[in-house]
Amino acid sequence: MINLYPLLIIAAVLFVVLNLAGGLIWVERRLLALWQDRYGPNRVGPFGLGQVVADSVKLFTKEDWIPPFADKAAFVLAPAVVVATSLLAFAVIPFAAGFVVADLSIGILFLLAMSSLGVYSVVLAGWSSNNKYALLGGLRAAAQMLSYEVFMGLSLMGVVVLAGSFRITDIVNAQRHMWYVIPQFAGFVLFFIAGVAETRRLPFDLAEAESELIAGFHSEYSGMKFGMFFVGEYIGVILISAMLTLLYFGGWLGPVLPAPVWFGIKTLFFICVFILLRGALPRPRFDQLMSWGWKVLLPLALVNLLITGAFVLAGV
């Protein structure tokens, strides 16, 4: 008799995350419209919710075209990689105490590894498209994600030092008395910036940069392959929001309401902040992005880690 409980959790996580990723299309368009004094999609179904279904039907019925000059294998592989890595990362995300697919003792490292593997998708897509704009987008994505990865990991180490564990459940439980956003505020800001850069969303969408590079790395993609990049981006947004919630805002901990609801509310809040960022901020120049990453944010992350370590050593 095999134990069905883990399978059930896997199914539940996949169901919630994939549906949320699809629904985010609607959420994002409605929220952006709200902040731009418009309505957004409000015709299909109640509040325009049917727009999600309409969009996916459209994507599924579109011609799935592979350009003859493309490197076919890598071209097909690239969109799968981004969705697969982002979904794999959800294996270690606990939605509530015990409600987690795999409570690894190196959860954070696994998360970082998976979100770093996501860069392969972008680079492969840019390379295999055999299109100079796509290649430029891929190059930018590679440079951006490599440089922001570095201090993303370093900024998380402050939390790890305080909690004394890489296991995410332990980190959440260590926040019973105080959310880590208070002692680790600098780390939170750094991780937030790195997280936005990691999901390649505005203002860090230089890999895509529709006003400069057509659509960047996915210029040549159409139909559901493009849809996979889309879904992958939204899963990435959910992932980073969930990480922010778990590592800095006490995860599922909260009064009165049940644990998964608290987790959902906090995650949704950060998703909305992501969308607000997109609505409010302009895209930086590429050299500004790189020099910010290496000359400002990386030293700040190191200093933050140093001070946190000193406090922990001093036993305060």
């Binding site: 709200l34 607000l276 409010a280 901020l281």
Partner: protein, 171 residues
Amino acid sequence: MWSLLRSMWGVFLHAFHRRVTIQYPEEKAILPPRYRGRIVLSRDPDGGERCVACNLCAVVCPTACISLQATEDEHGRRYPEFFRINFSRCIFCGYCEEACPTYAIQLTPDFEMGEYRRQNLVYEKDDLMIAGPGKYPDYNFWRVAGVAIGDKGKGVAEREAPPTDVHSLMP
């Protein structure tokens, strides 16, 4: 950094602003009276048709979408035998209205002219004619221009001045 946060807050505050979208089919936009929409042919205050079939509108039309044939009634007044506007070509530039010497052809604030068949966009004189005088309620071209009555020409009857020789106005 501060300006970034301030602009984010500013954008967030827009959540409480009024939305500017007009929900079109349910809610109509208010169009100004001089809006250049569907073209009509207007009538005198007396109810006669204003158009004298001078062809100026057809000549000035950049897309050549107006076609008409002039004819005369028993008093020698010119009027169009047919008057046809092809709205699938019309660009609503309003030149015809500017060219018209009798205020007959006018553009109205109506743009809801959608059709499923292209042929239905060709409007004949019956479709274009309206009952009233349009934007110029008191103007009557024949009162200004004068009319010949039977065998008496313009300005020949009692208490009438002869009409201005238009050629003397040339530069």
